[in-house]
Symmetry: C2
Subunit: 331 residues, 2 copies
């Protein structure tokens, strides 16, 4: 299979993208990676790694999306950007998936416009896999939508449940609602109403409310929430983990303990292991990475994309989703 | 000064309360602690610590609030509970402050009914001090209010700013709005509107939006948000910190490194250092602790209460707060 990788996404593109692609190719025999971006820059970077490897292609895209581009305008105003060109390759079937560490808003908006929401999905959501004390847990929405309505959280529950079953290997995914108390009726207007809908929804294994403290315990497979809360939580977690890693490194150095001796601790904290976050509910595989992604995270995201294609993530994504009554919203 | 301490609040009351009170008394010369709760239980616990120390009093309260009691009914239905009796002591001026590790909802509701919101405060908020890479930062609201309106966040900004100036020693507290992007106009309806109000509000040093990742960097003194988001974030942080502490302890033990050698790391993670969270915007000092508080956290909360009394926290609390146009809401 062929995966399109935006080569211009990270803060120091295309360095991390090229290194990450090379790592992925050495591990994934059935994958071809198309680096989408400025050909000269990509070739210069590739030259540092020796001869051009097999299964690595370049697709020239002269333009680049910046943080200043309003996401909704990118498709129209930057048709030759790596994000638009890469997603068009996927849309036309010339790539089976798309991975980018560029502007999250731009990747999201352009994915929506090109890949389109699946039937029954009013608002595609970003799913993020969080490490826990047990198996990892999928949190969604991690930032694609704010001011969600209760029925959107129900759609997230289906999307997340299908992802956990299909991609994380959970037979009967436990779906929880992120809230500020465990009892039914707790929370704000959104969660109080969503609880009622989720409780009577068929096709998901709803286990009730969970609080912020329950996520890390790993007592559920999927946690649904409004994208505002999910985004704040995710960014907070990443920064706390990074902060603790830095603090630990300094202190271990001081007492002359090698980092390797505490690798279990670092692995739990190291978000790069988890790579990217899929945009769930669109008619394609679009994986969004951090702007600060190191090569390891790009490699993980490419591996995730390959797994999504192999397991037909898109075909399973909207399973059990009742086709909504709400008009499809333009995002 | 005399501080009323709910002796029946923690999960293993009155053990942590008695031990915490004794610690506080040994450190704070000018403080008397009144243990409010079941006299027989308190005396039995005290007996384990030797003779009754000076400056420790017992005020009998035969009843106890449980997690099952709806918070708003506690004042009326459990008038002889330790929470109501303790807050009445404060209300009548027989204690200068109240500290409890009982049901947060019950302490909050009963504090509102007895101590009353200050003029200009529609919704008192729970303030929580979070450790950061620099000086600690005050997050509010940490869970007293959900479905906030933009003007409530403006009130939180004043309450937080006054607390940071008065209690945390920040001359010109930097107040930020928790959001999912840095630019003005980002966020959900609440934060987009609150930004506009905060920008033109006088008497606060508004520094704009911060994201979840910015909190731990310590780039502001006060972060305001809706209580739903604040509560999820706070509980998540506590659990992540506790999880990492447990993991670190296990691993350090395995490689025979003593915990003391990494005490800087543990101190940052150890939430108990910070003790309690004040309810800001009411006409009294009411400090809310975790149900799982160890003696150290109770001691810290008593010290915080003493500092709040000494620095006239209540007198400074509503400074600069324009008296609102909204009718005072019953909580």
């Amino acid at each position: 299979m062929r995966i399109a990788l935006d080569a211009m996404g990270t803060d120091q593109a295309p360095r991390a993208e090229v290194a990450g692609a090379l790592q992925a190719l050495s591990e994934l025999d059935d994958v071809e990676v198309v680096l989408v971006g400025d050909r000269a820059l990509i070739e210069a970077e590739l030259a540092k790694h020796g001869p051009m490897p097999e299964r690595l292609l370049i697709h020239h895209a002269p333009d680049r999306v910046t943080a200043e581009d309003p996401p909704a305008t990118v498709l129209r105003r930057k048709p030759h950007s790596s994000i638009v060109v890469g997603l068009r390759l996927h849309q036309k079937g010339e790539a089976a998936a798309f991975v980018s560490a560029g502007s999250t808003g731009a990747v999201m908006a352009t994915s929506l416009f090109t890949l389109r929401p699946l039937p029954g999905v009013d608002r595609p959501a970003i799913g993020t896999v969080l490490p826990t004390a047990q198996a990892p847990c999928l949190l969604l929405d991690a930032g694609a939508n704010v001011d969600c309505k209760p029925q959107h959280l129900v759609q997230f529950a289906h999307l997340g449940s299908n992802y956990a079953r299909n991609m994380l290997g959970r037979a009967q995914p436990r779906v929880a609602l992120l809230n500020i108390g465990e009892e039914p009726g707790k929370g704000d207007e959104l969660t109080a109403e969503a609880y009622v809908l989720l409780e009577r929804e068929e096709g998901i294994n709803f286990v009730g409310n969970v609080e912020g403290r329950d996520i890390i315990l790993g007592i559920c497979d999927v946690v649904v929430c409004d994208g505002f809360v999910g985004n704040v939580l995710l960014k907070f977690y990443e920064s706390v983990a990074a902060f603790i890693i830095a603090l630990l490194r300094k202190e271990l150095d001081r007492i002359s303990v090698r980092e390797k001796e505490l690798e279990d601790v670092f692995r739990v904290l190291d978000y790069a292991e988890y790579g990217g976050a899929p945009l769930l509910g669109v008619g394609g595989v679009s994986i969004i990475c951090h702007g600060g992604s190191p090569p390891k995270a790009i490699r993980s995201a490419l591996a995730m994309a390959a797994r999504a294609v192999r397991s037909d993530m898109v075909g399973h994504s909207a399973r059990n989703l009742p086709v909504g009554t709400e008009t499809q919203e333009a995002q």
